[in-house]
Each structure stands twice: as C-alpha cells, then as structure tokens.
C-alpha cells in the first residue's frame, strides 16, 4: 500500500501571500489554534486529492530560520521534529532576493522542498521576468507559479506536492550555499567529528548541524547536547574553537560572514534567472503611499479610517444587536413560559440565557470590527498604521501596531485583546494586553452616565471625559513601568516591511474575520457561561430567605384596598387607580427583591467586603454592584437599580434611580471615586477569558486581575481620602 496521507508545511516570508495560498488549498476546512506552549497562531487545513489525505500546516511567516524569534523556532522545530513530507516555500516573485534567503536555509535541512513563485504577475508589471526552469535547475527544486489572489496555479501546486511527496528520490545534496574556503573547511571538519562521535544519534542533516553550531545557534547546541551524550560537550567545544578561529580571521562574527555568503549565493542565482524586461516601473503602491503616509495627510486619513471603523462597528452593528437582544429576550420569555416555576427555570432563564445573551449581543460588533481589521491587514494598511503611530507608541515602550488594539479597547476589550495577535513580539503583545483594559470600554459608559449624571449635573461630560483621560494616563504610566520592570531588555527592532498594497480576496477576508470571531464564541462561551451561572447562583441562593415582613400578605392587602374602589370606579378614575395599585405593588416587589439580594450570598459577601470598600467611599451596596459587574460592566447599573430602591430594570437614564442615589449617603466625591474604581478594577469575564487565551498563561491572567483591582482601590482611595482632606466632601 502506498502512503495515503501527506503532511505539507507552508513556509515563507511574511507578506509573501502565504495565507492566501493556504486558503486556496484548504478552503474553509481550517483549524486555528496555538502552537503548543506559545501564543503563535497555528493553522491547519485538510483536503483530499487524487486519493490522498493532505494535512496542510501553515507555518508562521519568517524571514529566516535562526533561533532568534519564537516564530522562527516554531517553524523550524516543526520541520525538524514532525518531519512533514513536503515543505512548500512561498516566494514573493516580486521580491525574489530577500525571499530566497529563507529558501536557501530550507534547502540546508534534509527535507523535500517545493518553491512556489507567487505573484509573478506583479513582478512582470514591475518589469522583471523570472526564468523558473533555470531556478529549478540551479537549486534542484521543483518550481510552481501561482497567483494567490486570482487562485491560479493551485491545481498544479497540488499535483506537484503529491508527486514530490510520493517520489522516493534521494534528496539532492549538491547546489548548496558555498561559504568560502575557510568556513567550508570548518564545516567539513566539524561534520566529520559529529559523524564520528554521534552520527547515527542525531536525527538531522549533519552538515546543517555543523553550520548551525558555527552560527552559535542556541537550540541546536541544546539538541546536540541532548542527542550525542556523552560526546556533546566535546563537539560543542570544538565548534567554539572553530568559531574563535573564524572570528579572528574575519574580524567579524562567523554568523554574519555566513549571512553575507548566503546573499552572495543568491546574487549569483539572480544573475541567471532574472531578466529585466523594462526599466519603467509603474509602482501603484508607492503612489498610494504618497497620500496615505503623506507628511500632512497621513495622520488625518488614519484618524478618518479609525473613525469610520468605529462608526461602522457601532452604528451598523446596532441593528443586528437589537435583533439579537430581542431574540434573547424572546427566548428567555418562551423558555420561561414552558418550564415550570422553580430553581431550574431561574437557572436557565436568569443564569444561562441572560448571561450568555449579554455576551452574544456583542457578536455583530465583533464581526464587523474583525472584518475591518482583516481589511487593514490583508490590504497592507496595518503596516502603514504602525508606521504612522510608532513614534507615539514607542513613548510607552510599545510597538506601532499596538495602537489599533488599544483603540479597539474603547469599544470592547475582549476583541481588542484578540487583535494583539498582529504583534510579532511576545513582550509587546503581553504588555499591550495588560494595559488594554484601561481603555474604558463602551460597557462602562452607562455606569459613568448614571453616576456623573446624578452628581455632576451640567459638568457630567467633563467628569466622564476625565475618567477616560485617567485611563489613558494610567495606561501610559503602567506601560512604561512594566516595560522597565517586567519586560526589561531590548525592545524588538522596528524592522517592519511595508508590503505593496494588495487587493484582498473577499473569501480571505471572511475566513480571517470568522477565525477570530469563532474563537470569541466558542472559547469565551464556556467561561462566560460558567461566570454567569456563578454570579446568578450567588444572588439566587439561599432560596429561602427569612424576610423581615410578609410581602405576600402585604401585596394581597394592597390588592384588597384598591379592589373595592377599582370595582366602583369608571373611565379615567379606573385607569388612575389601576396604575396606582400596580405602582404600589411594584414598589413592594422591589423592596422585597432588595431584601432578597441583601440576604443572598452575594449580598452577604458584599457586607463582608464592605469594610474594605469603606475607605474608598462605597457601602455594601456599591460593593455588591461592582461584584456583579464582573459578568459585564453595565450590570453594575442594574444591580444598583435593585439595591438603591428603584425597579430592577433600571437604566442609566432613569430618574427614579438618580433621585434614590441622591438621597443615599453617596456624595459627588464618592461617586467619582466609584467611577474611577469601575474604570480600573478587574475586567469583565469575557475580557479575562480573552487575556487567558491570548497570553496562554494563568500567571499573566492572575497578574492582570490582581494588579487592576489593587490599582483601582488605590486610585479610588487617593481620590476619596484626598478629596476629603482638601474639603471636597
């Protein structure tokens, strides 16, 4: 039986069109996850062709295969350890020289390689013609032409993959980079030593191991130690001696000289395969950038794009959001009507449906937001945005690309944190994630509107604005603090390619949008479900509460009181009396609900925690409100509605709640302290789930929760006590 399953790894430079080729090959049958132990995205797709099952793995886009960046390590380890049947190197034909650098490194590994010259049409437009036969001959590698965004060449690539995978031919051992007499001598001697000491123990190409040892590659050194015991140290010592000799001879690090040789080898190939057809270059991309990164227009246009993105997200998103809201409400009512009264119904309706509903409602916004992000990325504008904003972000110790994520935080932190995937450096990514919740999301706005509207009157707008500004100032301060403490060490260099603008494919955009949204729905769904059920349980139990008075009887009394007069009344009077009766009963029910929540577990927890909240000007009701806000920040408002006497379905515009708040012992100062607390304290459960997922670490998740809550308390304390000290209370 011939081998029926084939594993294909897609390698290539960033922006080489790799993900388009991947989409063309696998369509929507994709699985997105993380590489084990790291937060680099792993994409895998499956397809059947000619009776073979193909698994296509999209390796991270890299410029090289050294051990410096995590993406490179991941890509290289996959090729070394999983031994895919074929490695397909996607080469941007319009940028052949730099793309061939990775190709020469792939050729040094013992693996079957196919070169894909992608976007040769763009190269031709630029007046460059590539002689594929010559290239194939020079490097002993099959070459296939594709145009990713027109989906041409996919079939031929597939045929080539299958024929190469099942061919038994020896891997070509000639046509390799020649590193010059002295380095070649060192490689040769080191190879012989390895062969002699441990040849059979190392599962890798020996020449490649020798090259990597001369380049001082930390991971290969580690593996040599591991595989060639007890000769590992001897081999490494010999390699170090050779490195020293070469360093003295060249007056330069050997790996630098070797990089030079690789490019020299490439230059030789280019001379033979490249034909300049015409010198006239029509570079549309460059002309677009004359406007989009223009000194005067660049920033205003960027601001406009961002504004348009938010407009689209929140105004267009408002329609489906409304439908989902109505749908969830309808579902709650219907299910509530079907199920018998009792604990199970409450759990399903108030816990599960309401809790998950409050998150699903974000889905339209998230889909639109991710569509815009995919559009920015797939066209190449994201790199320009980073280029424009890098100066500003660098002040906080961040990368230009962090800007988009932080800005999205003002809408909703959960997708904003997921958008940090576009950052290449893990340090930048985690730092951006940590300060992201300080961007005040739209769910916190109702809380501000309620509190500021109640206590600051005409100055409410200024108060709210100052809270947003407080978040930004804290983000800058903490960004710098974390950068110089937790993330010490060199900042990743801003060597960022500005790829030519490309027309994205609609299919590609949809796949990218859906990949991320799916994560939001699937992974968050579980955590949010559990979180909502926990908060619901805490407020629903214990079931039997010892009420201070008999509400049932009192309600019956009210009905009886009005009963007689309503029966006698007519017309307007009847209506007025019915309204009065309903109002009296609903007031009574609210009082009961308040007592119930006061005596529930969450109420008891709030009372236990109250002494901790007292120094920042909040009583037990405030503490319960912020506790329930963990599910979603806007819930703080409805909890306050219940606890401060109005009806449970209060919103921030409700006059009754405002009046009740004014009558309580809250002051403008304590209200402001509470606003600051709500801004900073533990992000909502959806955001925490996003942090957990994107940092891939419970440690960072715990850190984020802890630091934000402590910081929130400290800031509120300074505001409240400081304000009292200068006589603001």
């Amino acid at each position: 039986m011939p081998q029926k399953s084939i594993t294909v790894a897609l390698a290539g430079n960033p922006n080489s069109g790799k993900s388009t080729i991947f989409n063309n090959l696998t369509g929507t049958r994709q699985k997105v996850g993380n590489w084990p132990g790291v937060t680099v995205e792993k994409k895998e797709g499956h397809l059947k062709a000619n009776g073979y099952d193909l698994t296509v793995v999209d390796l991270p886009g890299t410029y090289s295969l050294t051990a410096y960046s995590i993406e490179e390590v991941v890509a290289r380890n996959f090729i070394l350890d999983e031994k895919p049947d074929v490695v397909v190197d996607i080469i941007d034909a319009s940028n052949l020289e730099r793309n061939l650098y990775l190709a020469t490194q792939l050729r040094e590994l013992d693996t079957k390689v196919i070169f894909v010259l992608n976007m040769a049409d763009v190269a031709r437009e630029r007046g460059v013609k590539i002689d594929a036969d010559k290239l194939s001959e020079l490097l002993d590698v099959p070459v296939v032409f594709t145009v990713g965004n027109k989906n041409t060449g996919t079939r031929q690539l597939l045929e080539t993959i299958i024929s190469v995978a099942k061919s038994e031919v020896e891997l070509p051992r000639t046509r390799r980079v020649y590193y010059g007499k002295d380095i070649e001598k060192a490689i040769h001697e080191l190879s012989e030593l390895i062969e002699e000491k441990a040849g059979s123990k190392l599962p890798y190409n020996i020449r490649w191991v020798a090259i990597k040892l001369l380049e001082n590659d930390r991971i290969v050194k580690e593996r040599v130690r591991q595989f060639t015991n007890p000769h590992g140290e001897a081999i490494l010592q010999e390699a170090e001696l050779k490195r020293q000799g070469l360093r003295e001879f060249f007056d330069e690090e050997p790996e630098i000289v070797m990089t030079d040789h690789r490019y020299g080898f490439i230059a030789g190939i280019l001379k033979e395969v490249l034909k300049t057809v015409s010198e006239r270059r029509v570079d549309i991309s460059r002309q677009i950038d004359q406007v989009l990164t223009n000194r005067l227009l660049g920033l205003p246009i960027f601001v406009f794009f961002i504004w348009a993105m938010f407009q689209l997200t929140f105004s267009l998103g408002a329609y489906p959001t409304g439908w989902i809201d109505a749908g969830v409400g309808w579902l709650g009512q219907t299910v509530g009507g079907i199920l018998p009264d009792g604990l199970f119904r409450d759990l399903i309706v108030d816990g599960v449906i309401a809790g998950v509903g409050s998150v699903v409602i974000f889905l339209p916004n998230i889909l639109i937001l991710f569509f815009c992000i995919a559009l920015f990325e797939d066209t190449g504008y994201m790199a320009r945005a980073a280029f424009l904003m890098d100066k500003v972000m660098h002040l906080i110790g961040l990368h230009g690309k962090s800007f988009i994520s932080l800005l999205m935080g003002f809408g909703c932190n959960a997708p904003a944190i997921m958008a940090t995937r576009t950052l290449e450096s893990e340090k930048d990514r985690i730092l951006t994630i940590l300060i992201n919740p300080l961007m005040s999301c739209s769910a916190r706005l109702p809380v501000y509107i309620l509190l500021a509207g109640t206590f600051f009157g005409a100055k409410a707008g200024n108060a709210i604005f100052s809270i947003y500004a407080l978040g930004i100032v804290l983000a800058i301060a903490l960004g710098r603090l974390f950068r110089f403490t937790l993330f010490k060490g060199e900042v990743a260099p801003f060597v960022m390619e500005l790829p030519p603008y490309r027309l994205p494919t609609f299919k590609g955009l949809l796949i990218h949008m859906w990949d991320r949204s799916k994560i939001f729905l699937k992974k968050m769904g579980g955590v949010i479900l559990i979180g909502s059920v926990i908060v619901w349980s805490l407020s629903a139990f214990p079931r039997q509460v010892q009420f201070s008075k008999d509400y049932e009887t009192e309600a019956a009394q009210i009905r009886a009181q009005y009963g007689a007069s309503i029966a006698a009344a007519k017309g307007d009077d009847l209506e007025r009396l019915s309204r009065e009766r309903d109002k009296a009963i609903s007031t009574l029910e609210t009082v009961q609900a308040r007592e119930k929540i006061e005596k529930s577990y969450i109420g008891r927890i709030g009372k236990v925690l109250a002494p901790m909240f007292a120094p920042i000007g909040m009583d037990w009701r405030g503490s319960v409100a912020v506790l329930t806000g963990f599910v979603a920040k806007e819930i703080v408002v409805s909890t306050m509605g219940v606890l401060y006497a109005a009806g449970a379905d209060e919103d921030e515009k409700s006059e009754a709640l405002k009046v009740a708040l004014k009558k309580s012992d809250m002051t403008p100062l304590s209200a402001y302290a509470m606003m600051a607390f709500v801004l900073i304290y533990v992000p909502c459960v959806a955001t925490v789930a996003a942090i957990r997922r994107e940092t891939n670490s419970w440690k960072w998740t715990a850190f984020s929760i802890t630091y934000s809550t402590i910081l929130a308390w400290l800031v509120a304390f300074v505001i409240y006590q400081g304000g009292k000290a200068i006589g603001l209370a």
Binding site: D260, G298, P493
Partner: protein, 78 residues
Amino acid sequence: MNLSELKEGQTATIVRVGGDGHFRRRLLEMGFLRGTEVYIEKYAPLKDPIELILKGYHVSLRVDEAARIQVENLRGRE
C-alpha cells in the same frame, strides 16, 4: 556618516551595520548588507520611523536604529 543623517530622496551605500548581535543579524537577514544601496523614501509624519527602499522592497526603521547603520557614497537631491 550614518543612515539617520540622510534626507528624503537620498541614496547611499551601506558600509556596516552596528548595534548588538540580534539587531545586526536581523538586519543582515533582511538584506542590509555591505554594498547594498538604500534609498530614503520618506520620514513618518512624526519624523520617526523612516521608510527605506532596498533590494526592491520597502521597510521601516526607527531613527535610532538607522543611526547604527554606517553609510557612504551619498547621492541624490540635497
């Protein structure tokens, strides 16, 4: 002179990339080799980073990073 002293529209030839190991290696791999021509396409609106063209592609670099690249044979408009 170093790359960060160049103005928009000027071209120069790379002599040497300085800085620490990681940075140098990364730049070399991206094609910042001795003898390579670099063209200054533009400075970002906030004067940092710089957009360069070398080996037929566009790449950006912060000003303090460009300052670590020695160049010679400056030409192009003043």
